[in-house]
Symmetry: C2
Subunit: 82 residues, 2 copies
């Protein structure tokens, strides 16, 4: 079994309204030191396979097809044997 961790982030060139909202909220709560905030997604998946290379290929496909919107988002992932 392989544990995969996927990070999906909004591309630097794309506006992040959610990040801006979080930044505004933190400022209004007195956290003036907060600069840029970017919000992304973090996913943990278990894959019922032991073939690391196959897992990598398949996970890339999952990211491209469903997990990330590659027009506005970047993704990266880590694999870890269990």
């Amino acid at each position: 079994m392989i544990k995969a961790t996927v990070y999906v982030t909004i591309k630097q060139s794309v506006l992040d309204p959610q990040g801006n909202a979080v930044q505004g909220a933190l400022h209004s709560m007195g956290f003036q030191e907060v600069g840029q905030v970017r919000v992304g997604k973090y996913m943990e998946l278990t894959l019922n396979t032991t073939d690391r290379r196959e897992a990598e290929t398949r996970l890339k496909e999952m990211c491209e097809k469903l997990l990330a919107n590659t027009v506005i988002e970047d993704y990266r992932f880590e694999l870890e044997g269990l």
Copy 2:
């Protein structure tokens, strides 16, 4: 300036409907090897401070008060000097 990365995940004992939806979608797309899926949040913040210890205390406060719902979510963060 300090770069903080915050990971917010749903506690293991709490149901994750979004994770289940992603799992179902992946299965229906032919990714049968996918087991459990948990979806969390990933945030990158820049903090205009150089005091690492202070940044840690303040970030903990931000997580407890706004970034994570500690009733159902866990959080962890990493700090990195820029």
